[in-house]
Symmetry: C2
Subunit: 415 residues, 2 copies
């Protein structure tokens, strides 16, 4: 029993848009316990669509398809499915009425192009779409169960969750469960080495997904029941956590800056940022999440040295003698930001992101960090490889990581 | 004569990583003038790979494949190609030597797993890989020309450009040319309406790619010669530009913040940012590009009102009477930033990104902008739909857009 994801659209075969739907559906099907042995993409072409449907239906038990359900003339999925089944298209009155109501809300009437979206192959099961005009549908092509959904992700994902996934779960025996652990601070190959043997010992599959510079570790278990799969997955995840230690900062979809924010909110601390080479990136990461105003006071993007001295109060002589990219200036920036913005904790980041600016004393990728609190200041000197954008992200994450360690372990307790 | 992109890897059919290679290759093949009528993804499984190769080689003239050339036991592409061709695998001595030299550089010796990467189907043409250990190869399967490359994008892309694309160009008659225009400030559907008729009049294909909140307009022409395709594409692009006016801000891969930076550098102006709801995003966008230090002095992330008053000098009474999200505060922030950082042009952004914080006086998505120069201050009030992240991006772009208009047209000349 194998499954296939079929994406329909010339914009995909021309490479005009990324096929994020297929990646998302492959992961969802895998999590439900289906084995996806093919993902196919075809253009909006009758022969290609009909040919693929016939071939895939003969070879697989399940087809999950997206695209080609829109109102324009190149949206021909329903017509092709009907042709493959040898049945006519028929208007589904409740769907037409739903389209009419939706159009009326925007002050528009139903055109023939819109009405076409209520035509389905005779005998199809309609999959409602509360988030758009085009409903989806399901049919059986021989022994294959086939689902057709719109290509707009915000319409497709809820339709899949509410009307496709429940059906797909009845087709698999046993269950699957996945724990997602979020890590930062160790390269993927090192994480991989550190976790050697866990797959075999626990009977799980460990996967990695990089959201640079974070790495997500996914621990997937399959078993006779969902409960058993959950038990196995969670036991293996515990071993992953104990082997990786502090590198694991959270679970699920929480990101690193969010986890630092949660720490500040739990402890009722306030934060300020003084940043140079990261140019606003640290503040942006921190404020990307709702509730940042509870702990984040503000930031100073001290890109030019004049801002370091005028706004943050870094002594001009320090910049001249030590250089803007130095431990001393990083410490003065953090202490200055803490004073100027009146916060509990201030982070400073100064460095050289490149591609220009290297000297004999400092190389591209050199970064100095400092975290100031009422108890003192901790500094750190690091050097990152990669492009300008990579150095900036690594510096921003390393800065937040130092903040986290100082808050958790105090000055000197963070090694 | 049709082409297909084949991606090999269980990490893809499980949805663990996005298939960016397929999107990139589909676009490259289209640009060369090939018609891609299928993109297929299969797992690291002998039956699936061999079955796909046999089927695709019978149906298409060209297969461009990635993945399955690594050193581990689940990398079986070469072996499957050899089986489909009915030929043995043979060691390619120069490739083995290149692997040995590469490993030696890292102080390692060649293991049997590494050596396997120098084994190719008898008769294959080797595609050198200066960026990694696994070379690629090309074979003919019946009448189909098939290319196999590693899945690592930084290795695959130069290999395609240097060793696959030249071959593929000889297979097409005629040429193709594409102009990419970058736009900001008009929704995709409105851009689409504005460009109605250009495709038919010029014989081009117009495609869109959204990099939220920017929209790229791609004007593709095919003709008997590359020169003719270029002429047609550029003529159509001129009409696109004249219909869209100021909405088109650049060509190629330049992004919006970069185009604003270029303007500042050309005019030797300096810039500072004072931002509240965007929380560092505007400064981050501006400093994302090399050379920002030539014009960008710095930014103040005035997230908390105390920073607006203490650092930017906004009168506390103004915040109390007008509210932090108001025209008056935006103007005072811009003028304060201009003074504090000593720049020619200062932008202020204050607004409500949500999801919390709405009052009877201000709704989520309300944003006030101001741009201050020596000649005066221009303000603008806007309201954006969408999530917190979308509001922040739209506000940041709208702010940079106002800066661009004030620099280009002066105060009052920007409507």
């Amino acid at each position: 029993m194998t499954s296939v994801v079929l994406s329909i659209g010339t914009e995909l075969t021309r490479g005009e848009i990324a096929n994020t739907n297929a990646t998302w559906l492959c992961e969802e099907l895998t999590l439900i316990g289906h084995e996806v042995t093919e993902a196919a993409v075809v253009p909006d072409d009758r022969a290609d669509i009909k040919g693929s449907l016939t071939r895939l239906a003969a070879a697989h038990s399940v087809i999950v398809s997206t695209g080609g359900l829109g109102p324009t003339t190149d949206d021909i999925t329903s017509e092709c499915v009907a042709a493959v089944l040898g049945v006519p298209l028929e208007c589904h009155a409740p769907s037409l009425e739903a389209i009419r109501v939706r159009m009326a809300k925007f002050g528009r009437t139903v055109t023939p192009s819109n009405a076409k979206q209520a035509d389905f192959p005779r005998g199809a099961t309609i999959l409602p779409n509360p988030n758009g005009t085009a409903p989806g549908f399901a049919v059986s092509i021989g022994h294959c169960r086939a689902f057709f959904m719109p290509g707009v992700p915000s319409e497709m994902k809820p339709m899949f969750a509410n009307h496709v996934a429940p059906d797909l779960r009845t087709l698999v025996t046993g269950g699957a469960y996945q724990v997602r652990l979020r890590t930062f601070g160790m390269p993927e190959s090192a994480v991989n080495d550190r976790l050697a043997g866990i797959e075999a010992a626990h009977g799980v599959t460990i996967g990695y997904r990089a959201h640079f510079p974070e790495i997500e570790v996914k621990v997937l278990a399959r078993a006779h029941t969902g409960a058993e799969a959950k038990r196995i997955s969670m036991a293996a995840a515990e071993e992953v956590k104990s082997r990786l230690g502090d590198v694991v900062y959270g679970e699920g979809s929480v990101d690193f800056a969010e986890s630092v924010g949660t720490l500040f909110r739990e402890r009722s601390l306030t934060l300020a940022i003084a940043e140079s080479c990261t140019g606003g990136l640290v503040a942006q990461l921190v404020t990307d999440h709702p509730g940042a105003s509870e702990f984040f006071r503000g930031g100073i993007v001290a890109y030019d040295d004049s801002v370091k001295t005028a706004v943050l109060g870094v002594p001009p002589a320090l910049v001249t003698t030590r250089g803007a990219v130095s431990t001393e200036v990083a410490r003065a920036m953090a202490e200055g930001a803490r004073r100027a913005l009146g916060v509990d904790v201030a982070l400073a980041v100064t460095g050289l992101a490149g591609p220009g600016g290297a000297t004999t004393a400092k190389a591209i990728g050199d970064v100095h960090l400092a975290v100031a609190t009422a108890d003192g200041t901790t500094d750190r000197q690091l050097s990152f490889p990669g492009s300008r954008s990579q150095v900036r992200f690594l510096a921003a994450y390393a800065g937040l990581s130092l903040v986290r360690r100082v808050v958790l372990h105090g000055h000197g307790g963070d090694q």
